[in-house]
Symmetry: C2
Subunit: 368 residues, 2 copies
């Protein structure tokens, strides 16, 4: 194998590939990138058994071939190279020579036959949406993905495509996040993508808005982003029928400035020590939402003005869960709907149904 390649383009690709490379593995090939040169094309592959990635770069090819190189070391070397073009070649003993200007490196490669078999996803139903829409929708739901494997399907995000609509849903037993956006689509689809995989995938989305193709096969889903193809196994199992757990009744309803409330929650949470999850107590009345907290470190209290409807209420929440939801909202104002101190609380936009966050309350002692 022998080729010359543009340093900048290779650097960018290697940096994105780090997302699909195993950080520490007993199988060295999983920490590597497979480079495969054919004619004037270099195809790169990485697969950490959760997320796979492929990308093709233009090169000046002299000799076809393939090799696996350690992604971290290869990336460090490429980035540090002094000139714009890099010459890469591999000899028969799998030694990979990397040269640019006066600098040269010889690093040991791994035979391409050691690379794990990557899933392919050639046929499947395709939906297309703008990259910024996908990125925001994932950012605004992923925090609610379950962190433990008690129900594996809930470690993923549910994608529900309906005619002209895409909905993302995540749930972890304490909270629910639902985000929907209009997209150009005529298909009816429902699938669950690993939270870790989609979280890494959207990180390669750049500032510039482009179309992303999502191709859903029988067992895998692939994302085409800026020429990178990412593939991940679909999660199997029955995802929570989330519609059924959303309370229909509302006994207390407030309208509040979202970032002001988030700042207030963050402030009063300062006295919550990490080990003991003291609840944030919300006392809601006609004038304000009074937030307070009592921990071993002391007491904190603050308030937010609200527009109020219904019954006065005393309710407790995990401050982290409140903050995650409030920080995910892009709107200035939100509506919070309560149904007594033991039922889940709902955060919604003032108009429309772009997002719905639901948080289970924490029991609080009734001091007052």
């Amino acid at each position: 194998m022998k080729f010359s390649v543009d340093r900048q383009k290779l650097c960018e690709a290697v940096s994105h590939f780090s997302r699909a490379v195993a950080v520490k593995s007993t199988i060295p090939a999983l920490e590597g990138i497979l480079l495969s040169a054919e004619g004037n094309k270099l195809t790169m592959y990485a697969y950490n058994l959760e997320l796979g990635m492929t990308k093709t770069l233009d090169i000046k090819g002299y000799e076809d071939g393939d090799i696996i190189v350690n992604a971290k070391l290869f990336g460090d070397i490429i980035r540090s190279m002094p000139q714009d073009t890099i010459d890469i070649s591999v000899d028969e003993r799998l030694m990979c020579h990397i040269k640019s200007g006066s600098a040269s490196f010889d690093i040991m490669g791994i035979a391409s036959s050691e690379f794990p078999e990557m899933p392919s996803n050639n046929d499947g139903v395709q939906i297309t949406l703008p990259s910024d829409v996908l990125k925001n929708m994932v950012r605004e739901t992923i925090f609610a993905v379950a962190q433990n494997d008690a129900k594996p399907v809930h470690t993923g995000i549910l994608f529900e495509a309906e005619p002209n609509l895409l909905r993302l849903v995540a749930v972890d037993g304490f909270r629910l996040a639902v985000r929907q956006e209009p997209i150009v689509n005529d298909k009816q689809l429902s699938f669950v993508v690993s939270g870790k995989a989609i979280g890494e995938a959207v990180k390669i989305i750049g500032e510039e808005v482009e179309n992303i193709n999502i191709k859903v096969g029988r067992r895998h889903v692939s994302f085409e982003i800026s020429g990178y193809v990412l593939i991940s196994r679909l999660l199997e199992g029955e995802f929570l029928k989330y519609q059924s757990i959303i309370p229909e009744q509302t006994t207390t309803k407030v309208k509040v400035n979202c970032s002001e409330l988030a700042n207030t929650v963050e402030r009063i949470s300062l006295i919550i020590s990490d080990r003991i999850k003291t609840p944030v107590r919300c006392t809601i009345n006609e004038e304000e939402m009074l937030l307070s907290c009592v921990s071993t470190l002391g007491k904190s209290q603050d308030s937010c003005p609200v527009a109020f409807e219904g019954e006065e209420l005393n309710i407790g929440f995990n401050s982290r869960f409140l903050l995650d939801a409030l920080r995910a909202v892009e709107a200035d104002e939100i509506v919070m709907k309560f149904n007594g101190p033991l039922a889940p609380m709902i955060i919604e936009p003032v108009e429309g149904n772009e997002f719905l966050y639901m948080i289970m309350p924490m029991r609080i002692r009734n001091e007052n």
Copy 2:
């Protein structure tokens, strides 16, 4: 105790004070800041038994008194406060009330009697120098301070003041750093300041250049920086007579671009794994300095053009030591002086004697 204080000023002070507060201590008072209000002045104290700090702020005082508050928690609260003025009061049960706008906190304080006795340094010889000069001189020597206590005095930086000159020296057994600058001074002084203490002290030096007073007492040294007084114990013991270990003879001398050499050393060091300290091999001849490295990960090689005098040479160095010295140099070009493969190498400016770095070589196998 009761007073009102400007949030911004208190924030800045608390943030600087974190440098003199113990991070984790079995004595809670060492993790705290002592606040002492008298009239319209608030004096703050912190002392982690290595570095002490004092600062006085203007306040609107209502009632004198003092209290120790946990520095981390107090700082977090102050920073998050919504308004420009903060009201602080302490009740007879040592509960500290902090209030600003709608937000209020009650945190438990500690009686001021628990605060460790802070050293004082009222009389002593004083030298004065510009803040940027001190900051640079410390930055450019502190990396060579010994990290272990084998010889405690070498965990500090030697300050040598002579008429119109200040010299800083650090040494760790493998390398030596000497920096000197002309300053307005008529005293002859020599003292050793803990590297940790002076390292933290210079961090509070801001962008704006001002004069710093260094007051050297019998057992302590204090620094006056922007109204903060920092105090530290002087290190005792005999500091290395560094002049005697600098080789007088030079058999090979090269002039080289400093940042280019630093980049080259950094690049070829990429294949040095952290555990095994493989040396960087320098092969110096008429045309260039060829740098190379062989490790379990592979081989690297690069070169730098040099202006050469004397004998050709093959010598090995710890890449970290080379880089620390090269990155500390502010000049474009440096002179490197060698005296064979086993004697220490010296890095000097092309003209003058502003800095001198000396590095012990590492033995290399003579492959060539």
